[in-house]
């Protein structure tokens, strides 16, 4: 309760306002997907599961949901492997190029998704390597935008890592890889897990890349929802949103079990 006394009321009011801005749209989507009426009104007309049933039978939204899941899972595996390896290198290496490399690897976060998708599409067409408008081409884009998050999460765990632990294992007769596997990997495992979850979720919600890399056969949930939103507010889309929201919340609760989220965020400062 000491916390409650310490903050000025303006701080409480401000953070309440910020939470409303963050959460109100999400609450509205959940209500819109569960409404009994044709559209959401205030006060709500009552609850029903008919839009959920509609979503599960929908020829557009349900396959799009499954496609997003599949793409996100493959993206997650590749990004976590690549990002973890690079994070170990970047933390341990003393070479001068490390800062520049980190800058390069983090830059997809700030490069517009629309521009990245466009650049990849131009590149695929120019080089004619058969990736334009294919699953592989879209996957590459997703790996690019998700791997920075794995890199950042795993790096944050390695910053405070005491190398002498690994040296101790070595002096007790462990081989270099054994020492790495038994000590370092064990310690960073939770962060790798959290990074993988982040990669999964970011890939699942990725929209901008699909504008140039997707096709009608390669349509994820965000794109399907965008197409439907341009014409009408289908409650079926909101019902699809409920499943995506559930996925995000479960993932975040899982990753909060794996790592201390506040510490993670404090150790991961985005720098320019």
């Amino acid at each position: 309760m000491r916390d409650a006394v310490r903050f000025h009321w303006i701080i409480w009011l401000g953070s309440a306002a910020a939470l409303v801005v963050l959460l109100l749209p999400v609450v509205i989507v959940v209500l819109a997907g569960l409404t009994a009426g044709e559209y959401l009104t205030f006060p709500p007309q009552g609850l029903s599961l008919r839009w959920i049933a509609n979503f599960l039978q929908s020829p557009t939204f349900f396959p799009a949901y499954l496609f997003s899941l599949e793409l996100a899972l493959i993206t997650m595996v590749i990004s976590s492997l690549m990002g973890t390896m690079a994070a170990v290198y970047l933390i341990r290496s003393r070479s001068k190029g490390v800062a520049a490399m980190r800058g390069l690897f983090m830059s997809p976060i700030v490069l517009p998704g629309l521009v990245l998708g466009l650049a990849l599409y131009v590149f695929y067409v120019t080089t004619n390597i058969g990736l334009a408008r294919t699953f592989g081409g879209l996957l590459i884009g997703h790996v690019l935008v998700t791997s920075p998050f794995v890199l950042a999460t795993v790096s944050a765990a390695l910053v405070g890592f005491d190398v002498s632990l690994e040296e101790a294992a070595r002096s007790l007769g462990a081989g270099p890889f054994q020492a790495f596997r038994l000590i370092t990997l064990k310690i960073i495992e939770p962060s790798v897990g959290a990074g993988a979850i982040f990669a999964f979720i970011i890939s699942f919600g990725q929209f901008d890349l699909s504008l140039y890399l997707g096709t009608p056969n390669l349509t994820g949930l965000p794109y399907a929802m965008y197409i439907s939103l341009r014409y009408k507010f289908e409650p079926t889309a909101a019902a699809a949103g409920i499943f995506a929201i559930a996925l995000v919340v479960v993932s975040m609760v899982l990753s909060s079990r794996l790592v201390n989220l506040t510490k993670l965020v404090s150790n991961t400062r985005l720098r320019w």
């Binding site: 916390d3 903050f7 701080i11 401000g14 953070s15 910020a18 801005v21 963050l22 959460l23 109100l24 749209p25 509205i28 819109a32 559209y39 009104t41 205030f42 492997l81 390896m85 690079a86 170990v88 290198y89 933390i91 341990r92 290496s93 070479s95 390069l104 700030v110 490069l111 517009p112 629309l114 466009l118 650049a119 067409v125 120019t126 690019l144 690994e166 040296e167 270099p176 890889f177 020492a179 919600g205 990725q206 929209f207 901008d208 504008l211 965000p222 929802m225 939103l229 507010f233 889309a237 909101a238 949103g241 995506a244 995000v248 919340v249 909060s256 989220l261 965020v265 404090s266 720098r271």
Partner: protein, 304 residues
């Protein structure tokens, strides 16, 4: 001798491990990501840049290797395009200021709250809202702000208004949407730095007779300025480049650069001009980084 070597290595900050021995193969770990980024990030971005200097030719995608400024001259001679760049900057600046004002108190509470459960719950809420698909959140906002949406519909049914308030399909709607999407990034870049300030600083100011507001303004706020500026830069970059917010909340009435880029390419096949607009968008974001560095080095007196 072995012991001396170890001491020296520790003293020189050596990080010896499986991949850390002298003449190690540590660098092998970075090979996959480096190759991947060079081939699928650096080269594509460069080819887009090359495209923007090509002679315009409708329908041709691949860069041709010309070096003409036609596309850029067209950008600077047509008001619809250079005004669109100004509009993009304006929306991004306003959004980053609003996000800073809204995000600061929440970041402050999360950084200072000691209770582990509440702390985790708030972190989950912020991270989940960052990671939830933007289109889903925009759906919620459109249902709230639309002409027949929750606000307008309710006010009309209770006869407070005759015609819907213009909450969406205009610049206001785009700013609201942008702030909603980018707010978590602002909060996250502030939490770390607020946590890093020792509470004794503020307590010292208070014990010397400063009011709470004064202690905040002259101690906490200046110390958190780097995080605030970094967050504002991040919000600026994200909002200037968002296509989906402007498309949905602006309803094709707010012509920011990403909308022009998509429209030029998808409707007219003008790849070279679209690439030039992308280059300009990129230059705007890079300029924002320079402004950020200039401001932050002035504020910290050269120390970063």
């Amino acid at each position: 001798m072995a012991a001396t070597a170890t001491v020296n290595e520790i003293a020189s900050g050596s990080r010896r491990g499986a991949f850390g021995r002298p003449r190690s193969r540590l660098w092998l770990l970075a090979v996959p990501m480096t190759l991947f980024f060079v081939v699928f990030f650096v080269l594509p971005v460069l080819s887009l840049l090359a495209d923007s200097f090509d002679k315009p030719m409708a329908g041709r995608v691949a860069p041709h290797g010309d070096f003409v400024l036609t596309n850029f001259i067209r950008f600077f001679s047509l008001p619809q395009y250079y005004n669109s760049a100004l509009l993009t900057i304006e929306i991004s600046v306003i959004s980053s200021i609003v996000a800073a004002i809204l995000g600061y108190p929440l970041a402050y509470v999360i950084a200072k709250i000691e209770h582990p459960t509440w702390n985790t719950v708030l972190m989950i809420l912020v991270l989940a809202s960052m990671q939830l698909d933007g289109v889903i959140r925009l759906y919620g906002m459109m249902v709230l702000l639309g002409d027949n949406g929750l606000i307008n519909g309710t006010l009309a049914r209770w006869h407070y208004i005759d015609k819907p308030l213009p909450l969406m399909y205009n610049v206001f709607g785009v700013i609201v949407g942008t702030v909603q999407i980018t707010l978590p990034f602002m909060v996250l870049s502030l939490i770390g730095i607020i946590r890093g300030i020792h509470p004794s600083f503020e307590e010292a100011a208070r014990s010397l007779g400063a009011s709470r507001w004064r202690a905040f303004r002259s101690v906490t706020l200046p110390l958190t300025m780097p995080g605030l500026l970094a967050g504002m830069l991040l919000v600026f970059a994200l909002s200037s480049s968002s296509y989906v917010v402007a498309a949905l909340m602006g309803g094709w009435k707010v012509w920011v650069l990403p909308i022009h880029i998509f429209e030029r390419i998808s409707n007219s096949g003008q790849w070279q001009f679209g690439a030039a607009l992308s280059t300009i968008l990129f230059v705007i974001n890079i300029s924002a980084v320079f402004v950020y560095q200039a401001v932050s080095s002035r504020l910290t007196g050269g120390r970063t």
